[in-house]
Assembly symmetry: C2
């Protein structure tokens, strides 16, 4: 029997644009799902704000999304997840997923030597939320964390292969290499756009875990297990809501959500000499 | 010193739309690179064609791309890679990468128990090209291969979470589960769109290797190592060329290249009661 709630959208939010990498991973796996994404650009970033303030903002947003009608909530923001995940799971009737636990579980599955690296913003790393999530799994593994303060800025300036990016990556990642981690969690929603540099610096024998993709896999499994997959044959509708009107959301959004498929040319093979 | 060739596009091709998942992974990691993608939709699929014919088609296309001026060739098609990769590496002055070897190397890095699964089309699996690529690495690992004939059709009908997809996935993947593989190579460029189902059926402890992402990482490393990264600050231009004019390339292209970032709404947080 199909649950009527299956037609409701998935609600997602982040302090800004970063969570769009999570939205995109979800859209990839679940093209028939409707999505409401709220980027709280007006109050971004959350990282430097006091815990109680982030908690309040996040609950406000989730209350709002739930009042609109959603079948699942995804906290696509490391700071908010760290501040409010457990409380949110108690507070709402719908399931709540965050970006932290899926990344940790995927890393536990992937590591061969039980030494996992974590990179993120200063706020995420100092929050200890990944350490706690790993401890909660009772897996006996080592987590080596490293803040990469300039990485978000690089992504937001669309600077992903300059010498400065390579230099910063070499510096930030040196302790992870020295510790011999064989798996690295990209613990910030912006970082999938730097995975070329990060993989290059870490070496191809190291497995990178995108929290965005790991979270999308858990969204898929959660909807399947609770019989809430949208069985519509139509492509889902995607609403992207920002709380402040500025170019950044739109420009960065295109970068983070992925390239547009445009400028298609049709050329029968026999015409190839016309270039 | 910047090599002038660094401004040239990356040339990629596939028998059809599937290679767009590779194009997209490359665009994600290398947003400043220009790309020419040729989908030979007129003669698609290559899989059932004789080896010599696929070889001839692929060389024609690569000759064409090289004559247009490219700095790197990517064979984003398993059938073509299997037929012509070694020959192409000899034939052209520019580097040639295929989707096969990067996926194999990433799987070797990721496996913990040295048992790797490979899923692909009937043509890819029976070609033995992944077995050969694995043997060439001299890694002492087992490869368990399984053809998944209906998976491409499911993707092309945008059917990614129906009961039929789950049933097919359960059936196709049972031998891999029975063999205890801990890593699975998605050996077909369409399969990243089914990774939700595949991960769900295999279980979260199994690592999926997207050949698209693995290939993009090698493109990144190859350009970096040969000092051919495009240092432009502009977003790269992407040309998508199809050899026959039909809706499928455009419709499926959007699906495979990723969602459009459109329909953005700006709502100051104070307006939220207006829904």
């Amino acid at each position: 029997m199909v649950d009527d709630r299956s037609r409701l959208p998935i609600g997602m939010f982040d302090s800004g644009v970063g969570g769009l990498t999570v939205a995109r991973a979800v859209i990839d796996l679940l093209p028939h799902e409707d999505i409401i994404y709220l980027g709280d650009t007006q109050r971004c970033p959350y990282g430097p704000r006091p815990h109680d303030e982030v908690r309040r903002f996040a609950l406000e947003i989730m209350d709002h999304l739930v009042s609109q009608g959603v079948k699942l909530l995804v906290i696509a923001c490391n700071s908010a997840a760290s501040a409010v995940f457990e409380e949110a799971r108690q507070r709402y009737d719908v399931s709540v997923l965050s970006v932290i636990e899926p990344g940790v579980r995927a890393a536990i599955a992937a590591t061969r030597n039980r030494r996992i690296g974590l990179i993120g913003t200063v706020a995420t790393v100092t929050s200890g939320s990944y350490d706690q999530a790993l401890a909660a799994t009772k897996a006996n593994m080592e987590l080596v964390s490293q803040a990469c303060p300039r990485f978000v800025e690089f992504v937001e300036h669309n600077e992903t292969n300059s010498e400065a990016v390579f230099d910063a990556a070499e510096e930030y990642l040196a302790p992870l290499k020295a510790a011999g981690v064989d798996t690295v969690i990209l613990g910030c929603t912006h970082y999938p756009l730097l995975s070329g540099v990060i993989q290059y610096v870490m070496g191809e024998e190291v497995v990178l875990i995108s929290s965005a993709e790991a979270t999308a896999n858990e969204v898929f499994a959660e909807l399947k297990n609770s019989d809430l997959l949208n069985r519509s044959e139509d492509i889902g509708k995607h609403r992207f809501i920002a709380t402040s009107e500025e170019g950044m959301f739109s420009e960065l959004g295109e970068l983070l959500l992925g390239p547009a498929f445009s400028g298609i040319e049709y050329r029968p093979w026999s015409d190839r000499t016309k270039a």
